[in-house]
Chain length 328, copies 2
Amino acid sequence: MSDVTPKHAAALVALDWGTTALRAYLLGDDGAVLDSRASPAGIMKLPAGGFDQAFDETCGAWLASHPGLPVIAAGMVGSAQGWVEAPYVETPADASALVKGIVEVTAANGATVHIVPGVLQAGAMPNVMRGEETQIVGALAGDAALEHEPHGALIGLPGTHAKWAFVFEGRIERFYTFMTGETFGALRDHTILGRTMRATAQQDPDAFIRGVDTAKDAGHAGMLATIFSTRTLGLTGQLAPEQQSDYLSGLLIGHELRGLNEVLAREQSNLAGRTLRLIGNEALCERYRVALERFGCDDAKTVADATERGLFRIAAQAGLVRAAVRVN
Amino acid sequence: MSDVTPKHAAALVALDWGTTALRAYLLGDDGAVLDSRASPAGIMKLPAGGFDQAFDETCGAWLASHPGLPVIAAGMVGSAQGWVEAPYVETPADASALVKGIVEVTAANGATVHIVPGVLQAGAMPNVMRGEETQIVGALAGDAALEHEPHGALIGLPGTHAKWAFVFEGRIERFYTFMTGETFGALRDHTILGRTMRATAQQDPDAFIRGVDTAKDAGHAGMLATIFSTRTLGLTGQLAPEQQSDYLSGLLIGHELRGLNEVLAREQSNLAGRTLRLIGNEALCERYRVALERFGCDDAKTVADATERGLFRIAAQAGLVRAAVRVN
């Protein structure tokens, strides 16, 4: 409560271990971040047997100072290509379902690492997430605005594979994966669209918004039919080479939100006037916030520290944090 | 009419000169193909000044045998990166507008090459074509089924950048460019989707149709939201690695046709029950024909020899062929 309170009791090592990076947090028994480490040791960059070494290099000192500290991890570390596979939990999935799906692995340094499973939405068009489920649990923590949404909360996680999750009473009911970020990269770097672009350090918000609006107002034929305008607007002198990348980015994010609106329309809802939350890279979330405004959605705050908070909540629900407090 | 008729009078050299290839035809005064040559000398593969050499290597012998034979060319050869730029003609554009837009260039061997312009649809979402306008003119030649469509004829040109053109009374009124082929290649070769695919020489028609149907029946959230299923159907054991490429191809073509249907819906029309024509690579047109059937369109024949026929028609309308007949 005050700086005098001994809130610095280390209670948990929490890992966000994805494909391209590892982020580690030393959390106090109130969930506060006491220390953190970032490592490029993503699971796709490790040599065989590299998990133990990367874990020890990143967290070994914490564990040496706090013997017996519990460890929890989320992300691709639990995939088939990860340290140990934590099989997907099926939707609807809440924090307690995630806890039940935790798989343990014993590290070479003796620590037991608790790996949070991903979530699978089965069916003819299956969807999977790993890591995002933990962030969603973190985002839900004490957000009254989300809890009171009559149709459930809508949470967006922009990125390479953007996710949009519908959450009701703490359960992830269903979700969508939009391959927006990766498609943007592939189109920019490996199609004719990139050839007339000129890279620039400066962003062009107007070009971005123009792309969003084009998808929103004239995107009925779909993304395959609008992206060529990146080139033809250049050919006809309406879009400078420096603007074309932001325009294409706006187009794709606009098509994502247009698609999301189609999903919402099927349940008599709409992005306009809706409260939702974003999780992810701050600059990217800001782009989405701007795009969402074009769709009439003015309440799309970015949730800070969702990963750490989610890992702490799941660990607490699993009894790991209390146990740690007792031990120390 | 019979083999005895001297129909072999050479009347025109017709060139289909695109980005990656040059196809040359020696046409008779009835439009029949007397001889043809294919060369890899696409305009993007030529050294500076390479147009003259490529033209002479491909057509020099014909011109030596038939001095004064007129020459017509269509395709990217008339672009800003081509032999000489033939500025776009704006929609609506018929054969006589194309004739008015012809630009001449004199080759090193003395021949005058008549270059057919492309077509531009101006506006906030501009569209351009080069080469397709000539194929469309060829496809219209004497096709009564097309001429009697009350809303005008619909002509599809599948490919890297697929075009769909609405033609009324011989005029190209408007058209759409779907970057389906190039997007497919970029997604397959440069995103995570390609990683679980296994290449195979054999096509899988069922996987293709499954992709088309998914886009048609469950594609309301848009292409960005469906393509990830290529991977997740694999993860969940519903799609073998050998099937994933055809599934993704079906998805993208399905989204193209879904988008086209949205365009048609805005004029109270629909692909179902409609007569249309396809121009292009035979195997690819067959894939589109199968996909169109899933949308209820059973009359989607592929037009043969549209390029040669279009070049001949435009040359005739320009008075080049009659002149040649007189000269020879």
